[in-house]
């Protein structure tokens, strides 16, 4: 499966692709459909501004502010918009809460739907055939690939993103973080913990 592993791609595919993309940009620019400077700005935004830190702040806020948590679970789009410091999210964000009884995991079996505004661009594994095929059938096996083991009685809820709704997992707040600031808590919130293939870091796992 050469979904992401360029080392296994043919060298000719890479250079052929590069040439093809360059030619396409030339055509679209000459036609007046695209503005290369705007393309630069889009790339730069995804490289530097939109990433999982946005989601981590949402989660840390929910951990420290019960009213916000309630609002987030009721209408994530509205709640996140009210935080202000995150660029406008689409209309269709839903936050799902992990509890001792239930663990949530997000997938898009049909393509690669993912909450870009709060998590950035999806990692290659999220878009790959192994994840898309197995998440719905063998989620505990997938969790084992991420070195996550859950109690055998915990309900595993897999959300397949088959429409324009986007899902964000609200993981459980780690023990031993009483009195922590929102910023410090956000350092515990990993991208994978908001997809449901990981758990937040424990207090001992980050630099003090």
């Amino acid at each position: 499966m050469a979904d992401h592993d360029h080392a296994t791609d043919h060298g000719s595919e890479l250079s052929e692709t590069q040439l093809r993309v360059r030619a396409l940009e030339t055509i679209l620019t000459e036609k007046g459909y695209v503005d290369p400077a705007a393309l630069d700005a889009i790339v730069e935004t995804y490289e530097t501004k939109i990433g999982p830190r946005n989601g981590a702040i949402v989660v840390a806020t929910a951990w420290t502010d019960p009213a916000f948590k309630q609002a987030l679970l009721a209408d994530a789009t509205k709640a996140v918009a009210q935080l202000g410091h995150i660029s406008r999210v689409g209309d269709h964000l839903v936050a799902v809460e992990n509890t001792p009884q239930r663990h949530n995991m997000i997938v898009c079996t049909l393509c690669s739907c993912y909450p870009w505004e709060v998590l950035g661009l999806p990692p290659v594994w999220y878009k790959s055939a192994p994840y898309r095929s197995r998440a719905v059938k063998d989620p505990r096996g997938v969790l084992a690939d991420f070195n996550v083991q859950l109690p055998k009685e915990t309900e595993i809820r897999v959300w397949d993103s088959t429409a324009e709704t986007r899902f964000l997992v609200l993981p459980m707040r780690p023990a031993g973080t009483e009195g922590w600031s929102k910023e410090r808590l956000a350092d515990l919130v990993t991208r994978d913990s908001m997809i449901g293939t990981g758990l937040p870091r424990k207090p001992g796992e980050i630099a003090q």
Partner: protein
């Protein structure tokens, strides 16, 4: 369509392998492809489900052998050709050879931040919702040759309505040029054993987001 993209439940693809400190793009062309796709979408050249359908229509061996953004590129090229924004001789020449087909708007640097915001898929409802949370439903068993968002593994299965997400543009119509045809959208939850049989993990629940035409009362 019953394409290779519809992967839920397939076996044999192996372990999920995460990359440590993965960059947003592995090659600079990937960012250009993503940005061109966003710009053409903003311009109204096609809609998201046209983009998906074009990738689903790739031959399975091409789909599997192509990297993620390579698939985006191939899908974008077919949409450009099919909709007459670029002609085959222009694609071959690598240059525009004739004037552009007009588009509604253009993503310029002035509007780029606003233009990157995700558009809303809410549409005016055409009638009351047929189902409410808690209702038992069964997904339909159908196999259209065109674009649908009902995965194969979830067809003909009993489930329960859990959430109502309002009325949305209907991908199955949009992708074949039949307009938004707005439909109610629901989260439908299934027991793992109803999908994968009696040996499935008894703690597993799976949900999909299903448009009303995918569902019948059970």
């Amino acid at each position: 369509m019953n394409g290779i993209h519809d992967m839920g439940g397939m076996d044999g693809f192996g372990k999920v392998e995460a990359e440590l400190n993965e960059p947003p793009f592995h090659e600079s062309w990937e960012g250009r492809v993503l940005a061109m796709q966003r710009a053409m979408g903003y311009a109204g050249a096609w809609q998201i489900d046209h983009g998906r359908f074009a990738q689903e229509a790739l031959p399975p061996q091409v789909y599997l052998a192509s990297s993620y953004y390579r698939r985006w590129l191939l899908g974008m090229e077919s949409n450009l050709l099919e909709r007459g924004y670029v002609a085959p001789d222009e694609m071959a020449a690598g240059h525009a050879l004739r004037p552009a087909k007009p588009l509604n708007r253009k993503l310029t640097t002035e509007v780029v931040q606003k233009g990157m915001a995700r558009s809303s898929f809410y549409r005016q409802q055409q009638g009351p919702a047929r189902f409410k949370p808690g209702d038992r439903v069964r997904t339909k068993n159908f196999h259209p040759q065109t674009h649908t968002r009902l995965p194969r593994y979830a067809r003909g299965k009993p489930g329960m309505i859990e959430l109502i997400h309002g009325c949305h543009a209907y991908p199955d119509s949009v992708a074949v040029g039949q307009g938004d045809n707005p439909q109610w959208l629901y989260t439908v939850v299934f027991d793992g054993r109803d999908i994968w049989g009696p040996d499935a993990d008894r703690t597993l629940k799976i949900s999909i987001d299903a448009f009303e035409p995918y569902l019948e009362p059970a």
